[in-house]
């Protein structure tokens, strides 16, 4: 079956924005829970969330202080933040609106409802009282759309580009979470035996990986094991390894796929050799930087191979 380049591109971005909205909600939720557990004088602040999303430049243009109110407004409802939940949902909807003809009929209805819900609720969900419910709603509504696509979408190009978008965005988010999470925890002057396991635990929770971790590794949340787990576990859908192998699988049947495959294979090789045990924090950071660069290159390669108008 044929797939227009323009449509492929919009599906890919629909998936990325949906995934981004869901991930931002997960991250925010896990972090809110964590903060409530921490003693008041710990050095962990809300700016970590902004760092994870690489959003300091946009943030500091809008706000002076990194307090809860500002950070949450920025992440949930800020119109100036292109990746706020509210804007991600809007962008996802816009992409569905222009591709409804290739998606299962109910997709538009669900995404549109998600959009209406977000428009009506985002602004008043910044405070702690309504935040949890809002974030849970965002997560479950995004999952409903994903579930709908997974159970009804015809397995052809449309499914392929949606999956590529989801996996790439997810890999991107997982690496960010480790990068900043590890930096924030390990980079502090002294370790805190009481708090650190909570921080690592919240990282796992934001990836819905806590119970899988306990099951596979054990009940003790230990930094290197967590990092290795989130990077390399092959059977858990939110790990970087899982996302990259999934991407590879989707790239294989496409024509013109040489560049993209090469980037993914080389990233997978590096990942296989990776072990957090032998690394300093600086090395870990450098490794993650490289991985982020690969993900950006992959996005470029996908763009060049399938989305840009061909010369006629």
């Amino acid at each position: 079956m044929t797939m227009l380049s323009r449509v492929a591109e919009r599906l890919y971005w629909m998936a990325r924005y949906l995934e981004r909205a869901e991930n931002t909600a997960r991250l925010t939720n896990a972090y809110t829970h964590l903060i409530m557990d921490l003693p008041r004088d710990t050095q962990v602040g809300w700016e970590v969330l902004i760092q994870m999303l690489d959003a300091e430049p946009v943030y500091t243009k809008r706000y002076r202080v990194f307090n809860e109110q500002n950070v949450l407004r920025f992440l949930i409802a800020d119109q100036e933040n292109a990746s706020s939940i509210s804007n991600s949902v809007r962008a996802a909807r816009e992409n569905v609106r222009t591709t409804r003809d290739v998606l299962p009929e109910e997709t538009w209805e669900h995404v549109n409802e998600l959009f209406i819900y977000t428009q009506e609720t985002a602004e008043k969900s910044i405070g702690r009282r309504h935040r949890y419910e809002f974030l849970e709603q965002i997560i479950s509504r995004c999952q409903m759309v994903n579930g709908l696509l997974m159970t009804t979408l015809f397995r052809e190009h449309s499914h392929r580009f949606i999956k590529l978008g989801h996996l790439l965005e997810r890999a991107d988010m997982s690496t960010r979470i480790i990068d900043v999470g590890a930096g924030a925890i390990l980079g502090r002057a002294e370790t805190n035996q009481a708090i650190d396991p909570l921080l690592w635990g919240s990282m796992l929770k934001s990836l819905s990986a806590m119970s899988a971790y306990r099951h596979k590794i054990g009940p003790l949340v230990e930094p290197n094991a967590v990092v290795n787990f989130i990077f390399k576990e092959a059977r858990l859908p939110r790990t970087v390894y899982f996302c990259l192998t999934g991407i590879l699988e989707e790239l294989q049947p496409l024509s013109n796929n040489g560049d993209a495959i090469q980037i993914v294979e080389s990233a997978l090789q590096k990942l296989t050799r990776f072990d957090a045990e032998n690394m300093t924090l600086a090395q870990l950071h450098q490794f993650i930087d490289q991985l982020q660069i690969s993900l950006n290159q992959l996005d470029d390669a996908i763009n060049t191979a399938w989305f840009l108008p061909m010369q006629s």
Partner: protein, 481 residues
């Protein structure tokens, strides 16, 4: 009877659902009895359910305003409009006849021009019309069909008779709303479908697909059909997407297509270029090909006219079809039916005065307070003057417009459009309506059972266009008695 119906007056105009003495007409009886027995709160619940369904289904249309484009929810009234199958079958035949004659006319105009040679109408009103496209001369599309999708507007006058008010042959829209209206009615008034035999409308997309597929220049089992849209900001984008999806066709924008050196049209896909057989264009022909028409068009496909003339791609509706979609040409349709088909028209047209003809113009200028004046070349209800409702000032303005450009104006007697019960706030009131059926013309001719009923929601208003505050109703063609 719940109190929302109290005080309903069906005697002022012809009412679609009730006789002048207030009794339900045959086709409407079961439905009206049901609605009148529903408690008021339940009516309200169902009306809210309909609004919710429209919102959730994202059935919207775009209104252009100075402050930007607004996406509005589709205005819908839950009370269906009914017509008996017996009455409809006659109308359906009349519409087929009309569409065939219009296609004969277009084909004739771009080829032999027999009708002009035989002086049935002045040649200049055709050839000097902006809707006549010399670029199309000499082309003979398959089956002589140019206007493959026609949306004709019907109204019923106080005498209970249907008239064709106009034929939309360029890019008629509204059919998706007809389908969605039925979908909503099934959701909110499901009980009614148990005891009624209502002709289904949902096979429109497959009929449209068959019509378009029959035009394919390539003999192939599954021709490649593309719906060409101007894009998301067009007021009918919702419909373009809807139709593409329900036909399994590609929804393309101009930039997705290109014309190759072989004069074939291709679309850009992730697997490389794919040849397109049929383009269902939903952009105005002036924008379809910057090589042939407007050079500044960013929406079109350079070279598509070349490909069409070479017979490598079919375009529906064919460029140039608009030549018959002109309110001056409209006046000659009954003559066309007699001339091309040797038949008498089965549906009447409305008496039309052509301001370009001196005798007609004098009559129009002397009777502006009784007539509806329309520009020959506008759609969407723009630029119309309804004489009896217009101020003296407006009438003077129109008199000047007519004298300056008589070719561009026609006038018709003000019809007493029929009404139907419509929910306005918490009561049922009569509102004027029209009906737009869709006629498909390819290898075969086919008419939608019913069509899109549009309602003027403002009391006394005759303007039904959704861009000007019109609403809509589900339309039932009811079998049996």
């Amino acid at each position: 009877m719940n109190k929302t119906w109290q005080g309903y007056n069906s005697s002022l105009f012809y009412d679609e659902l009730l006789t002048s003495s207030g009794n339900p007409r045959t086709a409407a009886r079961g439905m009206i009895n049901f609605l009148q027995r529903l408690p008021e709160e339940e009516i309200n619940e169902r009306r809210s359910a309909a609004e919710l369904a429209i919102r959730d289904m994202g059935i919207s249309f775009t209104v252009y305003t100075e402050g930007g484009n607004i996406d509005r929810n589709w205005p819908f009234d839950i009370i269906p409009r009914t017509i008996t199958a017996k009455e409809w079958s006659k109308i359906s035949l009349g519409l087929q006849q009309r569409t065939r004659a219009l296609n004969c006319f277009i084909d004739d105009i771009y080829n032999k021009q027999r009708i002009l040679a035989d002086q049935l109408m002045p040649a200049d009103i055709v050839l000097e019309s902006t809707n006549y496209k010399p670029q199309c001369a000499g082309v003979s599309p398959r089956y002589g069909a140019w206007a493959h999708i026609c949306g004709s507007d019907l109204v019923r006058n106080s005498n209970g008779k249907f008239y064709v008010l106009e034929d939309n042959l360029r890019v008629p829209s509204g059919v998706s709303y007809m389908l969605e209206n039925r979908e909503i009615t099934k959701r909110v008034l499901p009980e009614l479908f148990e005891n009624y035999s209502i002709q289904p409308v949902d096979d429109y997309p497959s009929k449209l697909y068959q019509t378009l597929a029959s035009l394919s220049p390539r003999e192939t089992r599954k021709p490649c059909i593309a719906v060409l849209t101007p894009g998301i900001y067009n007021s009918a984008y919702f419909e373009h997407a809807f139709l593409a999806q329900s036909m399994g066709a590609e929804l393309v924008e101009g930039s997705d297509l290109h014309t190759g050196d072989d004069d074939c049209v291709y679309m850009r896909t992730v697997d490389g270029p794919v040849k397109v057989d049929v383009v269902y264009r939903r952009i105005d022909e002036d924008f379809i090909d910057p090589e042939a028409f407007r050079k500044d068009s960013m929406l079109g496909v350079p070279g598509i006219m070349r490909a069409w003339k070479a017979g490598n791609v079919a375009i529906a509706n064919a460029p140039g079809s608009g030549v018959a979609d002109d309110k001056v040409i409209y006046a000659y349709v009954p003559d066309m039916i007699r001339y091309y088909l040797k038949q008498e028209p089965l549906i009447d047209s409305v008496k039309t005065y052509l301001c370009m003809i001196e005798k007609d113009r004098e009559y129009v200028l002397a009777n502006l307070d009784k007539l509806v004046v329309k520009p020959a070349n506008e759609s969407g209800g723009y630029g119309i003057m309804v004489g009896p409702h217009a101020s003296a000032q407006t009438r003077r303005e129109f008199a000047a417009l007519i004298e300056n450009n008589p070719r561009n104006y026609i006038a018709q007697p003000t019809l007493s459009l029929s009404t139907a019960p419509t929910y306005i706030d918490h009561t049922v009131e009569p509102r004027h309506l029209d009906l737009r059926p869709f006629i498909l013309q390819g290898k075969d001719t086919w008419v939608t059972p019913g069509g899109l009923t549009r309602v003027a929601m403002t009391k006394g208003s005759l303007v039904v266009n959704s861009s000007q505050g019109g609403g809509s109703k589900d339309t039932w063609i009811v079998e049996g008695n």
